[in-house]
């Protein structure tokens, strides 16, 4: 559940990029950092410590505001995909308001994808998230590689879940903003249903979606 500070007119939203190792979660964040308006985004921080437990995660903070000055801080996190880092994964997933599942499109990664997804489902339950209602967007990344699962197969396979599916090539910056827009929409809708953001704080969906608007320079690069 998003953290609302009505006095400071601020909402803090946490979105977690989940997925198997090396599927491109950090690349997603790096691209967003590059494309998004520098006035609205903070620095991409990568945390890495090596103690008796190794912790990896990235954090990109973003800030949106309504015309009336109600602010929404969106914190994007990535989890470590390696199977061994489940404790970190669980801690980072805690309190998430939305999840982007970044899958690897390569055929030989199908098993890793499936394992990571069931790990997401299990961990969501362990940290007290309702997986049935949790805003969730599926991204199939690495569309630029050969030997990948066809997009039609993927879509028809996921259709039954009703979840939004986005094809992407994060290294080339393709599909990253679209994925981000999808999760923003889903998360806004979910929180709006609980907090009535529009009526209580005059915070509209487009105020939040403005976050996903790239700078014109970025548009040119794409």
């Amino acid at each position: 559940m998003a953290e609302l500070n009505a006095g400071a007119r601020k909402l803090v939203v946490k979105i977690v990029y989940y997925g198997p190792a090396l599927s491109g979660k950090t690349t997603n964040l790096m691209n967003l950092h590059e494309y998004l308006n520098p006035d609205r985004r903070g620095e991409l921080m990568s945390f890495e410590t090596k103690g008796d437990r190794t912790l990896f995660f990235d954090l990109l903070p973003l800030m949106a505001a309504s015309d009336a000055g109600f602010r929404v801080k969106v914190k994007l996190f990535t989890v470590p995909g390696q199977v061994a880092h489940d404790a970190t994964r669980k801690a980072v997933l805690s309190r998430a308001d939305g999840v982007v599942f970044v899958a690897d499109s390569q055929r030989h990664q199908a098993v890793s994808n499936a394992e990571s997804f069931s790990n997401l489902e299990a961990n969501a339950g362990r940290v007290g998230l309702d997986f049935e209602t949790l805003p969730l967007v599926i991204q199939f990344n690495k569309r630029d590689l050969t030997d990948i699962m066809p997009a039609d197969d993927i879509r028809s396979r996921w259709r039954a879940t009703g979840l939004p599916v986005q094809m992407a090539s994060a290294l080339q910056g393709k599909g990253v903003l679209e994925t981000f827009r999808l999760i923003l929409k889903a998360t806004y809708g979910h929180i709006d249903r609980q907090l009535d953001l529009r009526r209580t704080f005059d915070l509209r969906e487009e105020d939040v979606l403005r976050l996903a608007a790239p700078t014109s320079a970025a548009e040119e690069r794409r």
Binding site: M1, L4, M45, F47, R53, P61, M63, A91, R95
Partner: protein, 464 residues
């Protein structure tokens, strides 16, 4: 279900919203700013986004902010805060974290004798940069250490859970091991009991087959014996009639006859003497009694054979709806005919639902138990019969005020052919048959001490 949004995120979660005081603790502010106030002629202060003063140097400057100031929006009151904290400030620099201003660095040049440079303007951005560097450093430290703490805690909890589980299963195994011996003993006892019961049943079955065979074999000769005894009785009556007719003949008196009497008279006299010699009067009197006694003996044999048959093959007849109270009444009636009125019988019958069973067998069972009770109670004894419905059970208690059953005999009273009576007074099948019959109806017979001495036989039948 909605958790209260403001309290949901634990304030020490790794991903919480950090405040200025989290990111710039006193020790760091001290390290960065105290030196500045020593080096340059500036007063320095740091306030957080709520206007609360986090640090002031030099220390002798006034540090407390009037409470009234904290009610205004921050930018409007900044000058007033600055004035209150360090006097007229010339430089106000924001401190940021994650796109937000979390506090301000305030500087005021102090009067310097030599030269009038505005130190605050040049030193300010430098100190601000130092503070920002410290903030990003502290964010790293806080987030990683707290996340580390969370994972360690989660791991610790998992370990604790596992330890609890292990302790629980260890306890269970220990208890199991401890109870194993007792369990073995108990099961052995159960098996032994089952074996004994099985052997008993085998024995009973063998006895039953023997009894059935004997009953059949005895029944046939008994049949023609009874029939012949009837015929013999009729013959006796005919002989008596003949004898009476003979006695009415003239000259048939038992006295000497004239020597000149005719030959008929002499033969009659000889016949009369013969009748006297063999005491025909007595024969005519005694023969019907002998036949009568034989009759009752045959009847007793018949009763024993009936018992044997009931014992050997209960449950062959069709079941009907039986009124247990009525059965008892009938049995009591039969018993009264057999024994007379000497025994007092107290009846306490509850209204019972009809019971699906075989009437003649049940009667036989009641009869056997009642005969025992009567024999135990003696000629002027007392028998109490009570029927009651207890839940799904029909219960019949038959109590006597006799001497009771010695403990040594308790275990054997249901054994076939076990009897404490004189030879000829009973063959030891009564209670066996009763038990066979009741068991065949799904019930049970139990024997206990009657409250006022004597014995109570309790029959429990499952309500059908």
């Amino acid at each position: 279900m909605m958790t209260h949004p403001q309290t949901y995120m634990g304030s020490d979660a790794f991903d919480c919203e950090y405040r200025l005081t989290d990111l710039l603790p006193q020790t760091i502010l001290e390290a960065i700013l105290s030196g500045a106030a020593d080096l340059w002629p500036v007063a320095v202060a740091v306030v957080d986004d709520g206007g609360r003063v986090a640090y002031v140097a030099p220390a002798h400057e006034p540090a407390r902010l009037p409470e009234s100031l904290s009610f205004d929006p921050l930018p409007d009151r900044m000058q007033a805060i600055v004035a209150a904290v360090i006097g007229e400030a010339t430089v106000v620099l924001p401190l940021t974290h994650e796109l937000e201003i979390i506090g301000y660095l305030l500087l005021k040049p102090l009067p310097v004798v030599a030269g009038k440079e505005n130190w605050a303007g040049t030193v300010g951005p430098y100190l601000q940069a130092l503070c920002q560097a410290a903030i990003s450093q502290e964010v790293q430290v806080l987030m990683t250490s707290r996340l580390h703490g969370e994972t360690v805690e989660a791991g610790f909890r998992e370990l604790q859970d596992k330890a609890h589980q292990l302790a629980r299963s260890e306890k269970r195994y220990r208890e199991l091991a401890e109870s194993l011996e007792a369990e073995v003993v108990r099961q052995t006892r159960e098996i032994q009991a089952a074996q004994a019961k099985l052997m008993q049943q085998e024995k009973l079955a063998a006895v039953g087959r023997l009894a059935a065979g004997m009953a059949h074999e005895i029944n046939n000769p008994l049949g023609f014996m009874a029939s012949n005894l009837n015929t013999l009785g009729e013959y006796c009556r005919d002989i008596k009639r003949l004898y009476e007719a003979v006695q009415t003949l003239d000259g048939c008196q038992a006295r000497p006859v004239d020597s000149n009497a005719g030959p008929e008279k002499s033969r009659l006299f000889a016949l009369t003497r013969l009748l006297g010699e063999i005491d025909f009067d007595f024969i005519v009197e005694d023969a019907p009694q002998l036949i009568e006694e034989s009759h009752s003996g045959a009847a007793r044999i018949q009763a024993i054979v009936a018992n044997l048959k009931a014992f050997a093959q209960p449950g062959v007849r069709d079941a009907e709806m039986v009124d247990i109270n009525h059965c008892l009444e009938i049995t009591l009636g039969l018993l009264a005919v057999q024994v007379g009125e000497g025994t007092q019988v107290e009846k306490n019958f509850a209204a019972l639902p009809r019971f699906e069973g075989r009437r003649s067998e049940l009667n036989q069972a009641f009869m056997n138990i009642l005969i025992n009770a009567r024999q135990a109670a003696g000629p002027n004894g007392h028998i109490a019969i009570r029927t009651v419905q207890a839940g799904k059970t029909l219960q019949i208690d038959i109590s006597d005020d006799g001497p009771g059953i010695p403990p040594a005999d308790r275990d054997r009273i249901f054994d076939p052919f076990f009897t404490t009576r004189e030879v000829g007074q009973g063959c030891g099948l009564g209670l066996s048959v009763a038990q066979q019959v009741v068991r065949a109806h799904g019930g049970e017979v139990a024997v206990s001490d009657a409250p006022g001495g004597g014995t109570t036989v309790t029959i429990r039948l499952p309500r059908s």
